[in-house]
């Protein structure tokens, strides 16, 4: 079984990692610290440098500059042991269409030197990815979703500690995507570390930590909650009142101690968006303030922004910062 790993121990660590192809920078100054035993989501639009980063972490690409350490060793100096401790599911399907499900899985097992008595292990994995009963079916006759599940099984056949999954959910339907994340959660619970790239921003919610990438640069690394808070500046409460609140009343609300940095914005009709430090603590204080000020409340609840919005906001912020930086440089 997988050796015990503590959540604090770094399993992937990079410092100022960059990769340039023929003068074009694919990844710039990537600094990461991924603790063992978590699901790390690497999110960003297509072509932002996620796959290049993963390939550097696997040792497939040599970094142009910077340092990288995976499983305590530079990927350039990986021994067979480290290579066996890593599982990799590439973005495209690389198994053999002419072979059956069982033969493909068996080949992957042999490739990693899994002992010959592996029948039970293969069955177990087919169960996990719900391909039991399809063993003899040729892969070319499988659906796209089944092929992705088989790829996943092949990447973990040798019981690796650290699993890199490059866009495992790309191009598959939402039901199957949900199922995949269930597998990932199960693998994490078994003690593995998962490094997952995705362009579906909403999938960040399933991760323990998320790194957001754009244009070859890592914008932020945080927990999903932390990301939201980072974008909005804190928790958000949406308040809807029975009557329109006057500007004086709104200004009074702005200066209340539970409101963060006077951050109150009007929504459509009789709604307000209030940024607070901690929504669960601030909500009773807000309702009490409304009672005192005779503001009739129709509804008041914490608002959790969707990750798409968070992501867009993050990209916009990054673009603004970049533009400022370049303007400063020009001045």
């Amino acid at each position: 079984m997988i050796p015990e790993v503590t959540g604090e121990q770094s399993i992937v660590r990079t410092e100022g990692l960059s990769k340039t192809f023929d003068g074009v920078t694919a990844v710039e100054d990537l600094t990461l610290d991924v603790p063992a035993g978590i699901i790390f989501g690497f999110i960003g639009p297509s072509g932002c440098g996620k796959t290049t980063s993963v390939r550097m972490l696997l040792g497939v690409y040599t970094p142009t500059s910077g340092e990288v350490e995976v499983l305590g060793r530079s990927p350039q100096n990986f021994r067979r042991k480290e290579q066996r401790d890593i599982g990799y599911m590439p973005q495209q399907f690389v198994l053999y269409p002419e072979l059956s499900v069982w033969e493909n899985l068996n080949f992957a097992a042999s490739l990693y030197g899994v002992p010959v008595r592996r029948k039970e292990r293969l069955k177990e994995l087919l169960d996990l990815v719900e391909l039991t009963g399809q063993e003899k079916k040729r892969v070319e006759h499988l659906s796209g979703g089944m092929q992705r599940r088989l790829s996943l099984a092949a990447s973990i056949i040798h019981d690796p500690q650290l699993i890199f999954l490059d866009e495992p959910t790309a191009g598959i339907d939402p039901v199957l995507r949900h199922k995949f994340w269930s597998y990932f959660k199960q693998l994490k619970e078994e003690g593995r570390t998962l490094f997952i790239t995705t362009q579906y921003v909403g999938e960040a919610a399933y991760c323990d930590q998320v790194g957001v990438m754009a244009n070859g640069r890592l914008l932020i690394v945080d927990t999903p909650t932390g990301l939201r808070r980072h974008v909005s500046g804190g928790d958000i409460i949406h308040l809807h009142t029975a009557q329109f609140m006057s500007e004086d009343e709104v200004n009074k609300l702005r200066v209340q101690p539970f409101v963060k940095e006077k951050n109150v914005h009007r929504l459509r009709e009789r709604g307000l968006e209030i940024v607070v430090e901690d929504a669960s603590a601030a909500l009773p204080q807000l309702l009490e303030w409304c009672r005192r000020e005779n503001v009739r409340v129709e509804s008041a609840s914490e608002y959790v922004p969707v990750f798409d919005d968070v992501f867009v906001e993050l990209i916009e912020q990054e673009t603004a910062v970049s533009e400022d930086t370049s303007e400063d440089a020009n001045d």
């Binding site: 290579q83 590439p90 053999y96 002419e98 072979l99 042999s110 490739l111 990693y112 030197g113």
Partner: protein, 512 residues
């Protein structure tokens, strides 16, 4: 420590078997492919064996005989005399019509006969038959040239046969002349003994006339006979006829001298007695000349070809070793040529780079699987050829297997190097087809290697099929062991190609 080393080795073996199993399964999952790989070449060879006609081509020939030609009446007879290689299509006096027929490919050959051969010979010139053809295949042109030469030789032969036969007939009356000469010699002897010089002188004069006539009549025929004997190695008695005629002349001279000088009477009598013996000898020589077959005199030599091989080699048999070599080379190059490029294009190479697979394990596994697969195909194909088509396999099976092993290893080496160079499947297939084309022309498949210039033969000896063809012909059809040098060079080529592929694959598996 030992356990850990053993584990490393064990895992390496498992990885090698991963590739052996995978490649084998991929091929076996395509039964139609396997079936066609075995049955295809066999059926082609079978059809070739059944359909190949080992008969010389018959040329439909039109003869152009100029108006007033003296040999027109002999043309058809001569045409038929060289067997079925010329089919007599008729005689025309119009060269333009014959030319048109030749251009329209209604006839294969037009033979224009000389107008007056006798006049040519009288002018001390050879008389020429001109052969016109419309062939474009160099081999067919050569065939027509050979037929032309045979035709001319046959004509010359026919003329000589007639001359000799005529000479034999003409000399049949010479026996009487020889008997008359003997009687005259006896008369000289008797006259000299009785001292009748005048009678002896008359008989000597008769004898001289006889001798002059015989010399004239025997000259050409007996000279031919003498020439044949000399060509047969009887240099010790050059021209026996001349010697006999010279002796006869000397004996006549001695008898003539005895009629003039009384002191030489005894010598004259002895000469007369010896002349009778010489005339008997001449008579015997004449007898032999007349009884000899004219064909022996005109064509005293013939050839007889005997093979020291233990079996009769049919045209199909001759081509089979080359077909096996060519087929196995192409199969190995195609399979190996597509193998690594497929892994590269599918993205599997990225998985191998990230995984614990070495270039050696991958290459060794692929070599082994293809050797096994093509080996089985070769065994089945060989079985069908040897026991199905009855193609002789005179040599040791171990030698046969040895040649195939070296051939396959070298061919796989070429294939893997092609695969490592190619950037797409179509490029790999194209390289494979180019190698096949080169092998068809330069490996001795249908053109013997000696027909190629030395610098082109370098290309030949870069192709495993060349070695395979030469060695398989020796093993299968001559029952000999393969040439050690050829086997060593082919094996060396296989080793170098393997090392090169290993090095190149190692580089491609390294980090970018």
């Amino acid at each position: 420590m030992i356990r850990s080393v053993l584990e490393i080795w064990w895992r390496a073996i498992i990885r090698i078997f991963a590739f052996i199993g995978k490649e084998t399964q991929i091929i076996l999952h395509q039964p139609r492919l396997v079936f066609s790989l075995i049955l295809g070449p066999f059926l082609i060879l079978l059809l070739f064996g059944l359909g190949y006609q080992n008969e010389p081509r018959t040329l439909n020939t039109l003869f152009v005989v100029p108006e007033g030609s003296t040999i027109g009446s002999y043309v058809e007879q001569y045409a038929n005399s060289i067997g079925n290689r010329i089919e007599f299509a008729g005689i025309t006096h119009d060269p333009a019509a014959a030319d048109q027929q030749l251009r329209q490919q209604k006839v294969d050959l037009v033979v224009v006969t000389p107008r007056n051969p006798l006049a040519d010979w009288e002018n001390d010139e050879q008389s020429t038959f001109s052969l016109f053809h419309n062939e474009i295949d160099p081999l067919e042109v050569t065939y027509v040239q050979v037929i032309g030469q045979q035709y001319a030789e046959r004509l010359n032969q026919e003329l000589l046969l007639k001359a000799v036969s005529q000479s034999q007939q003409e000399t049949s009356s010479l026996h009487d002349d020889i008997a008359q000469a003997k009687a005259n010699a006896a008369a000289v002897r008797t006259a000299l003994a009785s001292g009748n010089t005048a009678a002896a002188q008359n008989s000597v004069e008769d004898l001289q006339r006889d001798l002059d006539f015989m010399t004239l009549a025997l000259g050409s025929g007996m000279a031919l006979m003498s020439g044949v004997e000399q060509a047969g190695g009887q240099d010790a008695v050059p021209n026996e006829l001349l010697s006999v005629l010279e002796t006869l002349q000397n004996q006549t001279d001695e008898m003539a001298a005895a009629t003039q000088d009384n002191t030489a009477v005894d010598q004259g009598q002895t000469a007369a007695t010896e002349m009778e013996t010489s005339l008997d000898k001449l008579d015997n020589m004449l007898q032999v000349f007349q009884e000899t077959d004219p064909a022996v005199l005109v064509t005293p030599f013939q050839s007889k070809t005997l093979s020291i091989t233990q079996a009769t080699i049919e045209p199909l048999h001759f081509y089979v070793p080359a077909v096996i070599a060519l087929l196995l080379q192409h199969l190995a190059i195609t399979l190996a040529g597509l193998s690594i490029i497929n892994e590269k294009l599918s993205g599997a190479m990225e998985m191998f780079r990230a995984g614990p697979v070495s270039a050696f394990e991958m290459l060794f596994g692929k070599y082994t699987s293809y050797m096994l697969l093509i080996g089985v195909l070769a065994a089945v194909l060989t079985g069908l050829i040897v026991w199905g088509l009855r193609v002789p396999q005179l040599g040791l099976w171990a030698n046969y297997v040895l040649v195939l092993l070296a051939l396959l290893l070298a061919s796989l080496g070429i294939g893997f190097n092609i695969s490592l160079s190619a950037r797409s499947r179509s490029q790999a297939i194209q390289y494979g087809m180019l190698t096949l084309l080169a092998a068809i022309f330069f490996s001795g498949f249908f053109l013997p290697l000696y027909r190629l210039a030395m610098y082109v033969r370098i290309v030949s000896w870069l192709l495993p099929a060349t070695y395979g063809t030469v060695m398989l012909k020796n093993v299968m059809l001559r029952g000999q062991a393969p040439g050690v040098l050829l086997l060593v060079v082919l094996s060396g080529m296989a080793l170098v190609l393997f090392l090169l592929a290993w090095f190149r694959l190692g580089r491609q598996l390294k980090r970018e």
